[in-house]
Amino acid sequence: VPDARTSIWTWAFGLALLAGLLVLPQVLSFSQREIAVLLVINVLVVVSYRLMTLTGEWSLGHVVLMGVGAYASALFSKRLGVPVPVSMLLGAVTAGVAAAALSFPLFRMKGFYFLIGSFAAGEVIRLIWKYFTFPFGGPKGLKLIPGFPDIGPISFFEPETYYYLCLVVVAVSVFILYRIERSRIGLTFHAIHWQDKLAESVGVDTFRYRMLAFVLASFFAGLSGALYAHYIGTVNPTRFDVEEMVYVLIWAIVGGTATFYGPIVGVVVLTVINDVILRSLGLDEARPMFYGAILIASVLFLPDGLESLVPKIKRMFGGAKSTPDRKVAEAREAS
């Protein structure tokens, strides 16, 4: 029997979240608004990264593919004069095409080899940006990237308005990613992760599905890169280096990747801790140390990620009410 009260609470939570997101820029300072824009973009990065990890492969090339989207969108709009909204989509498509091409060498590898192989492929792309001054601008990158065009009286130059633009684009993308995961394709990704030989034996072409996951994840990473490029107005090879990638990996693992919301929780909580709380404490040079200590504490004490706290909190509020998650847990314990 579906629990009517649970769904009311879910709706209430969803509406409260939406309202909170909509009023957020009004209550933040200017610099915090900038952080909020980047946070919304990073949510798309980390959610698309999770789609990739569904097939069981951990890539270290995701941020570089985000960069492919950023560079491509910047070049299309700046050098060829393509309107920015179109160039953003073209950037995302470029990232998807790049991922499709990279699939052929990379999906010969698995596990740790894939991890490092994807890293190497990403580094090659990044070094190409660094080496060729035309058209990529060399180590200094591309500057004066055109911004998003005004729609009527609304200018997207301010972080406040750009925040709403990002919110809409990211919400639509996250919804699409959610539907993909819940579709047959998503189930197949799960199957490949847990039982790739079995999946193959029932006729699943694991290479094509791995490639599909990689291309879809890279498309949305490229889109987030395009959102980034036209907001900041400049891109350079250092912005997409392995250090940035490590942050994405950290968000995903500290948040937990077993659920759809885990990585989102990870990126939001860690960004708030690092950019709001630690910064306001005034620990400029020592900030990475505290961040490192928090990472260690979180993997030691919350090995299943921040997401494992959510059912506990739900139970605390819901009392002994039997939620679907709880039923699954009880069934597991009983077996």
Partner: protein, 289 residues
């Protein structure tokens, strides 16, 4: 032209020496504990800063400082093993994140203690060997080459000829079977972590006067070390040494005759080629993922 080529060979031998010290430590840790130690470059940095502190600031003799660096970084390895990798033994991704956390802590400590600027160290000796006309090998570089040969040979005999070495190799092959034979996983992990970290520390300590340490020097080193252990096949010590030599020669020659960025690209493409042809590295076992 001949002397340029000879000089480049000498430089490549030096590069291969310190790269194999770092890569072998990383391989040892991965082989025994199954965890990717992202903080390995920072262990190398910690070795370099031990020399900055003891030799440059407190005027200790150079080789005493290097020995202190070996012990200090080895102990750091023991701390990592005890505090991070032991509780996370069944959680390789957790171990990876924990080592990134430790990396940030070490880096920040170096920044707070010594500042972000390069630390200049007066080389303990300016002496050099002139082999042919113009081909030069400084003693400082010679120390690194000798240390690599001596330490790696010692490690080889340790792993092949002693009970500890057998136990360690048994753990690398099959943890459960090794534990059933009465081998203590904790002790083997401790020893592996100490040796692996100490090798990185020695490499850092000996190269400190040559490279001008910065708190972020570990970054490029770890990237190179990953390439090397992948080309060699993960968990293969001989493979790591062979790959270090191959990579050092290719990289040094391309850097000398073209440019550093091209050398990086060539190194990475070479590695991708190896992986496409043989997805488990040159020396890797056939079926290890």
């Amino acid at each position: 032209m001949t002397e340029l080529i000879l000089q480049t060979i000498v430089n490549a031998v030096y590069a291969a020496s310190y790269m194999s010290l770092i890569a072998v430590g990383l391989v040892l840790i991965f082989g025994v504990m199954g965890v990717i130690n992202f903080a390995h470059g920072e262990l190398y940095m910690a070795g370099a800063y031990t020399v900055v502190a003891l030799y440059s600031l407190f005027d200790w003799p150079f080789f005493v400082s290097v020995a202190a660096g070996l012990v200090f970084v080895g102990v750091l390895g023991l701390v990592m093993e005890y505090a991070l990798f032991r509780p996370l033994r069944d959680n390789p991704l957790g171990g990876l994140i924990a080592s990134i956390g430790f990396l940030l802590i070490l880096q920040t400590t170096a920044v707070l203690g010594f500042g972000v600027r390069m630390a200049f160290i007066k080389p303990p000796t300016q002496a050099k060997i002139e082999m042919f006309d113009g081909v030069v090998l400084t003693h400082q570089r010679l120390f690194v080459i000798v240390a690599a040969i001596v330490l790696l040979t010692a490690l080889y005999f340790f792993l092949r000829k002693t009970r500890f070495g057998w136990a360690m190799r048994a753990c690398a092959q099959d943890k459960e079977a090794a534990a059933l034979q009465g081998i203590s996983l904790n002790q083997v992990s401790r020893i592996a972590m100490f040796i692996g970290a100490a090798l990185a520390g020695v490499a850092g300590a000996l190269t400190a006067p040559l490279v001008s340490p910065t708190p972020y020097m570990g970054h490029s080193v770890i990237v190179t070390a990953f390439i090397i252990i992948i080309v060699g096949g993960i968990g293969q010590i001989e493979g790591a040494v062979a790959a270090a030599i191959l990579y050092a020669f290719v990289h040094t020659f391309v850097t000398t005759f073209y440019d550093g960025v091209v050398a990086d690209i060539v190194g990475l493409v070479l590695m991708l080629l190896v992986l496409v042809i043989k997805p488990t590295g040159l020396f890797g076992a056939k079926d290890r993922a």
